[in-house]
């Protein structure tokens, strides 16, 4: 299986229980940090409408879309009910030397 680790940001660039945007080429992602300092990454846009989730609200392991309140479990990408009906794509993440890396495959 191919690995394609991309350096995304400093680990402390994401506040606990929050999300930031990361753009790479013509793609955009969200990087999440939980209160337990675990990091996750998903596609940046909500699957319901093309709204960036980085402006959304993180509640434990849930990201809520800032426009229509659609919710996803960002640890699995699972959509948690209308208007979010299609799962979000997730990406492996690792933290090394204080930096967050995404595996874009």
């Amino acid at each position: 299986m191919n690995e394609n680790w991309i350096e995304a940001c400093a680990a402390d660039a994401v506040a606990p229980e929050d999300v930031i945007r990361f753009d790479h080429g013509d793609r955009t992602f969200c990087i999440y940090r939980t209160t337990a300092d675990k990091y996750y990454a998903t596609d940046g846009h909500c699957t319901h409408a093309k709204v960036h989730l980085a402006g959304g609200f993180v509640m434990e392991h849930i990201i809520e879309c800032p426009k229509h309140n659609g919710r996803f479990d960002f640890t699995t990408g699972q959509a948690k009910g209308a208007p979010a009906c299609v799962d979000l794509k997730t990406y492996p993440v690792k933290v090394e030397a204080g930096k967050v890396f995404l595996d874009l495959g």
């Binding site: 319901h48 609200f57 426009k67 919710r71 948690k80 009910g81 208007p83």
Partner: protein
């Protein structure tokens, strides 16, 4: 030579739908007042406490007035009881419906969803189709041809506005729609533009449940030879929804269409504590549209954070209606007229668009 006004097409599959898409108004990016991420995070925090307190009071008012109405039925004392019951059932269910639709009322998801299903039934809106309708309303607020919830199209039909206070605008539209969903299992072309295919069976299932409940209540009224069961379920939509319309018209009536700035097409109206309880703080309507993740109990604080970037709020419901009534009367004669909200001098609406 005067330019003749071309009537707008408010359907979701017509000329103005295409026009809105061509002009970049569909699913567009909207202006948001500047606020720090940290402060917004604080305001977005969900809590169960305020909505639990408010919902317990709400149920107490609903059940209390209903029981008193039942006990005093046949006397004049039943009139004030059902006036209160009707307003709680037929009007304040709207704001409960709205806040729980956004899942911001409670922190706990099932509490939002339970209140949403109950309030949807009470306000006579099938819950699944109206969730999607309101989602579109937030995507394309007062964009002609895109927003299914434009309450006052131009030119305004003044007779329809008066009928709305007695539930005679929404119910005659909603009931045939509910019957079509229940018995034919079919959406109209406009609904099909915003309700995804996978959600449609839920619409038909819910419509059948609603129709079955109404049929049971009607059957009970006929069996008992009394209108009392219908006074409790069904008729509040007609005799109790007037306050919902009083509040609802303040939201957008008379303001601009086809702008991507909620400060220009929504009103924030200062209301007293009782109105804010009944309306669940939806008087902060600009704030709600701009930041729908902020729960109702934090909208007042959000208003304080961003008010310097907003038009002057209306000082009262009366103050808002002093603008709305003349504006609608003027629009009746001149459908191109709308109220231009004045932004603070240092800010400009974003983006500034040419009129259609």
């Amino acid at each position: 030579m005067p330019v003749e006004f071309t009537p707008r097409d408010y359907s979701l599959v017509g000329r103005d739908t295409k026009l809105a898409e061509e002009r970049g108004l569909a699913s567009a990016e909207w202006y948001a007042c500047p606020i720090s991420r940290q402060r917004l995070k604080e305001l977005m925090q969900r809590r169960d406490g305020p909505a639990l307190r408010d919902t317990i009071i709400w149920f107490a008012l609903l059940i209390g007035s209903g029981v008193l109405g039942f006990l005093t039925w046949g006397t004049w004392w039943a009139v004030p009881c059902f006036l209160v019951y009707g307003v709680i059932y037929g009007s304040t269910s709207d704001s409960r419906w709205h806040e729980s639709l956004h899942r911001t009322a409670f922190k706990t998801t099932w509490m939002n969803d339970a209140l949403y299903e109950l309030a949807s039934f009470m306000v006579f809106r099938e819950s699944v189709s109206w969730r999607w309708s309101h989602t579109r309303h937030h995507t394309d607020t007062i964009i002609v041809g895109r927003d299914p919830e434009i309450a006052v199209p131009r030119p305004p039909n003044l007779r329809t506005i008066v009928l709305a206070f007695f539930g005679l605008k929404s119910a005659p539209k909603e009931f045939p729609r509910m019957l079509r969903h229940a018995f034919l299992g079919r959406l109209d072309p406009g609904e099909a533009t915003f309700i995804p295919k996978e959600e449609q069976p839920k619409v038909f299932r819910n419509a059948r449940i609603y129709v079955a409940i109404y049929a049971a209540v009607l059957g009970l009224a006929i069996y008992s030879g009394s209108v009392l069961p219908l006074m409790c379920i069904g008729l509040p939509t007609f005799y109790g929804s007037w306050l919902m319309v009083v509040y609802g018209l303040t939201q957008h009536a008379g303001l601009a269409e086809d702008v991507l700035d909620h400060r220009l097409n929504c009103r924030t109206v200062y209301m007293n504590r009782i109105h804010r309880y009944l309306y669940w703080e939806m008087n902060y309507h600009v704030e709600h549209h701009m930041f729908p993740m902020v729960p109702y109990h934090a909208l007042g604080k959000l208003h304080q954070e961003i008010k310097s970037d907003m038009p002057k709020p209306y000082s009262s419901i009366w103050n808002a209606y002093c603008e709305i009534v003349p504006a609608l009367l003027k629009q009746h004669k001149d459908p191109t007229f709308f109220v231009k909200r004045e932004l603070p001098q240092h800010v400009k609406p974003v983006p500034a668009l040419e009129p259609a």
